[in-house]
């Protein structure tokens, strides 16, 4: 399956094969081997290379949360047939990383934005967080308004690729 890791933005494709007591994984063309042992508390002991580490993974509504030792990751499965590839954008939706309030909308529908351009400012925990465009795109729709309270994961801005909305 192909995943996008939310924090780092890294995309990765993984295929697994059982090889005796170890799992062989094909990751981005390379082959990695891991040994694993289920622990009584539901965690797994993972051996990869020289690393032997306690790990845990769980499926949430639309993502998979994974810990490898002190590292935490959130993987979102990427389905080839869905929005992502069709729109040509890594992620056509700007979503709220946390519950909070929409403070300021810095763009308008139809605007053309560049990578890194601030799009929207949110407030949570009395702190302001500004979300920026990950790549060049056009603002397709802004389904929220300033002052609105929103849940984590709420869609704040819909993007479309630059060329698709050109006449």
């Amino acid at each position: 399956m192909k995943f996008r890791e939310l924090s780092s933005g890294r995309q990765v494709e993984v295929q697994l094969q059982q090889q005796g007591s170890t799992i062989q994984a094909r990751i981005g063309g390379a082959v990695a081997q891991i040994g694993r042992q289920l622990l009584p508390d539901g965690a797994m002991l993972i051996e990869i290379g020289a690393v032997r580490v306690r790990a845990f993974a769980a499926r949430a509504a639309d993502s998979i949360v994974v810990s490898v030792g002190p590292h935490s990751f959130t993987f979102v499965p990427l389905k080839a047939s869905r929005g992502a590839s069709r729109s040509g954008l890594a992620n056509p939706l700007v979503t709220a990383p946390m519950p909070g309030k929409v403070l300021k909308i810095l763009v308008a529908e139809g605007d053309q934005v560049e990578a890194g351009q601030p799009l929207i400012t949110m407030e949570a925990m009395k702190m302001e967080t500004t979300l920026a465009a990950e790549g060049a795109a056009r603002i397709k729709r802004i389904p929220v308004s300033e002052g609105q309270m929103i849940d984590a994961g709420a869609v704040l801005i819909e993007l479309s690729p630059l060329d698709s909305s050109k006449p």
Binding site: M1, F3, E5, S7, S8, R10, V12, V14, Q15, L16, Q17, Q18, I23, A25, I27, A32, L38, D41, G42, A43, M44, I46, I48, G49, A50, V51, V53, R54, A55, F56, A57, A58, R59, A60, A61, I64, V65, V66, S67, V68, G69, P70, H71, S72, F73, T74, F75, P77, P97, M98, P99, G100, E123, A124, M125, K126, M127, E128, T129, A152
Partner: protein, 503 residues
């Protein structure tokens, strides 16, 4: 031995939440006190409720209707028959109005008296006080409208720092690097200060580009005795908020250390300081400047506790009961604290939330963990995102550092994005090992930080395993009360890894 008229504390209300509520409840219980927890609707499943002898709801999630609601807290105190209130840190801990209201309700406020809180909380007034006491301050102004800011910037040059007059914890603080950003920064800082402290007043300071942040623990009793208990190095910060603290401060001269500790004691005496507090300084080369007095127990107080083998909360309670200060034993060894936050280090330490789906906390010789984490609890984003403080003590800095590394390797928390791995790598860095760093170290270290390829690969493989496991359940499934026992391991449905072990 002189005798003092003491007051008795039997029933203590803790007007706070999270790890500090648990920390205070532990000492209070050890002293044989009856403990009273308060909580907002968002914290109904929070571990501090069960830790106390009783718990009272004080309002909805929004802090100004609950943890900042003086009337609501006093009502709970009256209902429970409390005779004292410990405010913890943050929330109402430094509010003179709260201290006064507690006093007027006939209860003991475990903290400085209102006039000391007012003197310390007025950042501008505190600067003036320091100047009168002969302690150097960072060049600055006493107001911050756009015109003052422009002329100050012309005088000292950019960058300048905007700060909230009623501030603390980095809120309302903005660095301005050139004039074009000034107006927007003033407005944003004012909004943030207004939201955080109900007081939008600002002032300006020259921004020192790479200072060290060093602070001194102070304690004063009701009989005029004030002592300084060593320093803490707190230069490792993000968003002007500390993430790693240690004591003693590495790489400052014995003379600088003595001078700073003396200055702190002088200032504390000058304000008639009572109870526990902290005097913060910036150190820039051979110069040091007074920054502010934090009139409360600091988040990082365990660093001092481990080095002095001294319970600061017990000291606070004794002082509030008007007992004379008990002299701490001489300090020894080295202590380091790492704050694990529910934040995403990859994205400007953006706040994160979620449910605790798996948890393993560190332990071992010299390791202390102050936390409110527990299996299956919800981590919301209503309040400060501090999840746990991992504190390591060692005979010397190197032992403390190695113990910290081992401890952070043990820290496993699934379900909430957190900063333990970032802290681990920060502590493992050469710059930290050398002890030569300033407040810019975290932002210099951050851009190149990423998990090792092997770690990322392992995580991706686990994601694939979980994706194939067929135990998909909506996240809510794990959120309910008592969910732990019902929760299934995501591996369970792999049934002995049937996927792989078809033989």
């Amino acid at each position: 031995m002189p005798r003092f008229r003491t007051r008795r504390i039997n029933k203590l209300l803790i007007a706070n939440r999270g790890e500090i509520a648990l920390r205070i409840i532990r000492t209070a219980r050890a002293l044989g006190l009856h403990t009273i927890a308060v909580y907002s609707e968002a914290d109904a499943d929070s571990p501090h409720l069960a830790a106390a002898h009783e718990a009272h709801l004080i309002g909805p999630a929004e802090a100004r209707h609950s943890y900042l609601n003086i009337q609501s807290i006093l009502d709970a105190a009256r209902a429970a028959g409390a005779d004292a209130i410990h405010p913890g840190y943050g929330f109402l801990s430094e509010s003179p109005e709260f201290a006064r209201a507690v006093d007027q309700a006939g209860l003991i406020f475990v903290g400085p008296p209102p006039q000391v809180l007012a003197a310390a909380g007025d950042k501008v007034g505190a600067r003036q006080l320091a100047q009168r006491a002969g302690v150097p301050v960072v060049p600055g102004t006493e107001t911050a409208d756009a015109a003052t800011a422009r002329s100050f910037a012309v005088l000292t040059g950019y960058p300048i720092l905007i700060k909230a007059a009623a501030g603390g914890g980095g809120r309302g603080m903005r660095v301005v690097h050139d004039e074009s950003a000034l107006d927007a920064a003033l407005q944003a800082a004012g909004r943030e200060a207004q939201a955080a402290f109900s007081d939008g007043r600002l002032f300006l300071e020259k921004y020192l580009t790479a200072p060290r942040h060093i602070e001194v623990q102070i304690l004063g009793d009701a009989h005029g005795r004030v002592i300084a208990m060593g320093e803490r190095e707190c230069s490792l910060q993000r968003r002007h908020q500390k993430i790693v603290e240690e004591s003693p401060a590495p790489a400052i001269s014995a003379q600088m250390r003595a001078t700073i500790i003396d200055a702190a004691a002088t200032l504390a005496a000058a304000v008639g300081y009572q109870n526990a507090g902290t005097v913060e300084f910036l150190v820039d080369g051979d110069n040091f400047y007074f920054l502010e007095i934090n009139a409360r127990l600091q988040v990082e107080h365990p660093v001092t506790e481990l080095r002095f083998d001294y319970d600061l909360v017990a000291a606070q309670l004794a002082i509030a009961a008007r007992q004379p200060l008990i002299e701490p034993p001489p300090p020894r060894g080295h202590a380091i604290e790492c704050r694990v936050y529910a934040e995403d280090a990859h994205n400007d330490f953006r706040p994160a939330g979620g449910s605790v789906l798996y948890l393993q906390l560190p332990a071992g010789p010299g390791i202390r963990v102050d936390t409110w984490l527990a299996p299956a609890i919800e981590i919301g984003t209503h309040y400060d995102g501090l999840l746990a403080k991992v504190i390591a003590y060692g005979a010397d800095r190197d032992e403390a550092r190695r113990r910290m590394l081992a401890a952070l390797d043990e820290f496993v928390l699934t379900g909430v994005t957190h900063t333990a791995a970032f802290l681990r790598d920060l502590i493992a860095s050469e710059g930290f090992a050398r002890g030569e760093f300033s407040t810019t170290f975290v932002s210099e270290f951050l851009p190149d930080w990423r998990p090792s390829d092997e770690t990322f690969k392992a995580a991706a493989i686990l994601a694939e395993l979980a994706a194939q496991s067929g135990t998909a359940a909506p996240a809510r499934r794990w959120n309910g009360a008592g969910a732990v026992s019902r929760r299934r391991s995501p591996w369970e449905a792999l049934g002995d890894f049937s996927l792989w072990s078809r033989r």
